[in-house]
């Protein structure tokens, strides 16, 4: 770009930023936020009153809850951070995004993935691993789109006009790199059919890998990018430099150097080895310091301009978001203390912690960003400031109601479950006695969610009116400006630029990208070979030597897959903890061996219903059938949805043989003929159960129906392991 002498050439310095992609991501954020919030309220109502499940299999809580979590994290949160990253990094690097093609591929790819999730999850096509429920083809799509996002970001950084890389960009880089690694490691699964697969890890291994990914999906998808947004948008909104730039650099690097051990704090007091649990505790308490470093830096940036916060809704959202970040990152380490965890784990307290972070920190930072970006992208004023203020107050009160109700519910239920009277017996032996007491709080929680959603609707109205009111001429010219053929320039500019800047730049050109991809490919390749080897030796390793474990029969396995499909793990855990309350209520604590052949592990993370680890043989088959048909027939106050379709749908044994061979490959001790006549065995067992049910006076004609498989699986729980 030559500069004509004499006349001050503004074109050179008026960088052409690609705001079109930011607008699209912003719109996607707003739309998916609505979907996520609606799903959230619906799921809450389903818990409050079973009738909301409407008896339809596609709407039961088990299938809606994963849709809600994926929508909130990846659709709402995902699009939000992409909008923020693409907007802020162009300004910070003073250059346009690397390639428009990649940007649009990233955008449409991401929306397609969300759509695929919206279709597959209600159909029950899930992997049964929390926050990683999407099936293997979508995993691959996510990986590809994520790599595209990474290349776009890194190449934009490489072609930056501003030499210094601002701290926010380091957070974006960390987000891309770490999520890429974690997502790939947790997605190592063997496909069984187009939409089914078994993860290569099993039992306690799967638990550790899942929560190593689970915590870091929260840390590196819902914290580091949002810290980056905070470090860009708070200074910009208040027009004052960040409090201490040096602190932000120190707290970033101290965070990323030692980031391995956060996972185990999701598995405290379980069958995970003692030292791994303690390590999880130590590391979580350590995490508190860099997190609060970030919060303090963000809030102190506002020192001296709190009067502005009083009047400006954007600052209200950003400041309160940062405060919620501080709150939930203090609550986290507290929750990971073993004694506190004993009360909190599997209870609603965890839900309060999650939503303190999600609604408070992630939600408010994104809402603040939306109110900041919409007027600037459409070059107009916000339609109505007081509407934004009301949205803020509705949102804040909504969150507080949500959190307080869940705190109360969680602590009350745990206290009741663990209550032991003088004679050493449980004060509340039946689980449902505790559920009855906290159902009203589920209504209160739904109210909180509703208020938050109403606030959101005000925002949508405000944004739509703002955009409608934007001066049309400007919008049109913005269109023309964007449309100029930049694409041709990019590749040619890149090649020309890298040559003119000497060998070093060429070295950093395309080969760099190729090497990164090659290394990634090799990494994934070695893992594919390495892991089966590890998992197969798993069976012989000495900690399992003390037990003889029977693998599931083909019918039981089919039942397990239905268990996973219906998302039963979202309300029922299969892990009796080493705590007094658990052992008294459910029997001896679960061993690691109990779940050594479980691909994926189904320990679960919430006990809306009782633990099922040792439910096998506790009730007759007929009890299970009638309970699944209508839980209220057995337990009048139960809030469990009805599963009538299990009695009608025919058991699909088409892929059972393929499933057996895959599990055999992954180390489950099946003989060859087990694999060969898996289907006949399943049919035989199903008919046997059906006849037995009829004998007990149960309904007729349940042969080869799904119910028999599920009953077979439920009866096997806790029966598979004997001491050698």
């Amino acid at each position: 770009m030559s500069t004509s002498t004499g006349v001050i050439n503004t074109e050179k310095f008026d960088h052409k930023y690609d705001d079109e992609i930011v607008k699209y991501f912003l719109m996607a954020t707003i739309i998916w936020a609505g979907v996520a919030l609606l799903l959230g309220i619906y799921a809450a109502l389903e818990l409050a009153n079973y009738k909301f499940n409407l008896g339809l299999q596609w709407l039961t809580f088990g299938r809606i809850r994963p849709l809600h979590t994926n929508a909130a994290i990846f659709a709402f949160g995902g699009n939000g951070i992409f909008a923020g990253i693409y907007h802020s990094s162009q300004r910070l690097l003073k250059t346009r995004l690397f390639s428009d093609k990649l940007s649009w591929f990233h955008f449409w790819g991401w929306q397609l993935i969300i759509l695929a999730a919206a279709i597959t999850l209600p159909l029950g096509l899930t992997q049964g691993k929390e926050y990683h429920e999407l099936e293997w083809p979508i995993n691959i799509a996510v990986a590809i789109v994520w790599i595209a996002f990474g290349i776009n970001l890194l190449q934009t950084i490489r072609r930056r006009k501003e030499p210094h890389i601002y701290v926010a960009l380091w957070f974006y880089i960390a987000t891309f790199v770490t999520i890429a690694l974690l997502y790939v490691v947790n997605s190592i699964e063997i496909p069984v059919s187009w939409f089914n697969s078994y993860p290569v890890y099993a039992g306690v291994q799967d638990a550790l890998v899942q929560w190593w990914y689970g915590h870091n999906a929260v840390a590196f998808f819902l914290t580091t990018p949002f810290l980056g947004l905070m470090y860009y948008y708070i200074p910009k909104a208040v027009n004052k430099p960040v409090y201490s730039y040096r602190l932000s650099v120190v707290h970033f690097w101290s965070l990323v150097f030692i980031y391995i051990w956060a996972g185990p704090h999701h598995l405290l007091n379980t069958a995970l080895p003692e030292w791994a649990q303690t390590l999880g505790v130590i590391f979580s308490v350590m995490l508190w310091i860099p997190s609060w470093g970030g919060m303090i830096n963000g809030l102190m940036t506002l020192r001296g301009s709190w009067d502005k916060v009083k009047t400006d809704p954007i600052l209200k959202f950003l400041a309160t978001g940062t405060i919620f970040y501080g709150m939930s990152t203090f609550e986290g380490p507290l929750l990971s203390l073993k004694s506190v965890n004993e009360v909190a784990h599997y209870s609603d307290w965890i839900i309060a912690h999650v939503h303190g972070g999600a609604l408070g920190w992630n939600g408010f930072i994104l809402f603040g960003m939306v109110y900041y970006l919409v007027p600037r992208l459409w070059k107009t004023e916000l339609y109505n400031k007081s509407l934004a203020e009301t949205h803020f107050w509705l949102g804040t009160i909504g969150i507080v109601i949500y959190i307080v109700s869940m705190w109360t519910a969680g602590i009350a239920q745990s206290m009741m479950l663990n209550a032991v009277d003088a004679t050493g017996h449980l004060v509340y032996p039946d689980f449902v006695q505790t559920v009855v007491r906290i159902v009203p709080l589920y209504y209160v929680r739904s109210l909180g969610g509703l208020m938050y959603f109403v606030g959101y609707l005000l925002m949508v109205y405000n944004v739509v009116k703002t955009i409608k009111g934007a001066p049309v001429a400007l919008a049109a010219s913005a269109k023309r400006e964007e449309a100029n053929p930049v694409l041709k320039l990019d590749t040619q500019a890149l090649v020309q630029e890298s040559i003119s800047e000497g060998p070093h730049r060429v070295l950093e050109g395309f080969p760099m990208v190729m090497t990164v991809l090659a290394v990634a490919a090799v990494l994934v390749g070695t893992m594919i070979e390495l892991i089966p080897m590890i998992t197969s030796t798993n069976a012989q390793s000495e900690e399992f030597a003390a037990f003889k474990v029977k693998p599931l029969t083909s019918l039981q396995l089919a039942g397990r897959d239905i268990y996973v499909r219906e998302g039963c793990y979202l309300c029922h855990s299969q892990m009796i903890r080493t705590t007094v309350g658990d052992v008294l209520r459910y029997g001896p604590a679960s061993e690691t061996a109990d779940s050594m052949y479980d691909h994926p592990f189904q320990w679960g993370s919430k006990r809306t219903g009782p633990d099922l680890a040792r439910v096998g043989g506790k009730y007759p088959d007929l009890w299970h059938v009638r309970h699944l048909l209508n839980p209220r027939d057995i337990v009048p106050q139960s809030i469990m949805p009805t599963y009538s379709w299990l009695l009608e749908q025919k058991l699909d044994l088409g892929t059972i043989e393929r499933r057996f061979s895959v599990l055999k490959m992954l180390g489950v001790p099946y003989s060859d003929e087990d694999v060969k006549n898996a289907a006949e065995n399943a049919k035989k067992d199903s008919i046997a159960i059906a006849e037995d049910l009829v004998k007990q006076g149960g309904p007729q004609g349940l042969e080869n129906k799904e119910i028999t498989a599920l009953v077979a699986y439920l009866q096997s729980l806790g029966k598979q392991t004997e001491k050698r």
């Binding site: 790199v177 200074p235 004052k240 391995i260 390793s541």
Partner: protein, 46 residues
Amino acid sequence: MSILVLIVPLALLLGLFFVGAFWWGLRRGQYEDLESPKHRMLLEKD
């Protein structure tokens, strides 16, 4: 717990990557002046 044979090296690799990223930043003079960036970012008109 044999999965540790996989996760621990990967995590250390990640840590190593970030030490390398820090070294690259240091080499390229990213930490010479930690005072001006926080002001300069305000100047870019949004």
